[in-house]
Symmetry: C2
Subunit: 187 residues, 2 copies
DNA sequence: ACCTGAACACCGTTCAAGT
DNA sequence: ACCTGAACACCGTTCAAGT
């Protein structure tokens, strides 16, 4: 409990941010979940902006590590690419949450600069990974890889949003299926 | 001024909601723009939820009328389909705003029910229109039309979000271009 | 009919003080 | 080191009362 209050705050803040965004993060509720008072959060984080930035930073670091392991553990790059959309399914499974950074992109203009930078980093990590895998799997030419990587990422962001607004995870699967059929995701 | 306060409130609220979402709608600033006090807004709209619902309703009604005229004024259905992404470009051109309903989809879980219903209606109108045009233009079979319509719509939502988070309208165009190249938008 | 002042509830934040 | 009560400034919202 008090041994790891900082970690508990980060974990709770992540869940709240995935469900309600930056504006929905409020210190009084957050503190209650962790079993401390709102004022105590300031012992660990100097401001709401810094807390949100720490959450987003942890988020993209974990994502980057996961994507790297996904690629390492795939026999062929195309298999890793095929499993990429799964990554964004888990949050939807978990109480209709969405990827923290998809959510924060919507409110981007209202985000403090420290938070913007970390959200940006998440996008960069994903685009770079997709680009690398698209080239390795020879799905597109190296020249086209950047554009295709961005298109896949934005397509998945849209699919998450739409599935969430219908609270229907089957719609997410159906959209990914349609992207595949239309040729967006590979070949 | 007082002759049309209701309309002025609606127009101002629409712009704010497109830039900052439902949570960003604030009555004091809104009132100041219209030249009245915050409390006076409640004379025209019984709550923030009703105001937002009225804004969203007006929004999808205007969109539906525009899409219908776009189709009427195109010599071939495929031309209307080709111009569909333009519809969502205008908001980005206008101070990096995005489609009101794309924005509200992100915050869907926190929306009052009246607002949810109108955001839903916007999605329905767009999917129905796309489906009709996809079939008329023989881009896909009638059986596949619904799925393809949803994939196009979600792809465009994602493209708006991504372009906005980079404050770069050229990125929107580039994403639409990539969707076309990958085969999502037609053929 | 149209509008408002004043109050209320809530929020991020600070800080002196407690253990 | 870790936590808190109480207070501050601010803001969306409500309502009884004004014209």
């Amino acid at each position: 409990m008090n041994a790891n209050a900082r970690e508990e705050i980060l974990a709770a803040a992540k869940l709240v941010a995935q469900a309600h965004g930056y504006a929905g993060l409020n210190f009084r509720d957050l503190a209650q979940q962790v079993g401390i008072k709102a004022a105590s959060i300031y012992y660990y984080f100097p401001s709401k902006a810094e807390l949100a930035a720490a959450v987003a930073k942890r988020y993209w670091e974990d994502s980057a590590a996961y994507l790297e392991s996904l690629l390492q553990n795939s026999t062929k790059p195309i298999d890793a690419l095929r499993r990429y959309p799964e990554t964004f399914r888990w949050a939807l499974e978990n109480d209709n949450r969405i990827c923290l950074c998809s959510f924060m992109s919507a409110q981007f203009d209202d985000l403090p600069d420290e938070v913007k930078a970390e959200v940006q980093a998440f996008t960069d990590v994903n685009i770079a990974w997709l680009k690398k895998v698209l080239i390795a799997a020879k799905v597109v030419s190296p020249k086209q890889a950047e554009n295709r990587a961005r298109a896949i990422y934005s397509g998945i962001m849209g699919a998450q949003l739409m599935a969430r607004s219908q609270a229907d995870i089957a719609l997410y699967d159906s959209l990914i299926q349609s992207y595949r059929a239309a040729g967006l995701l590979s070949a």
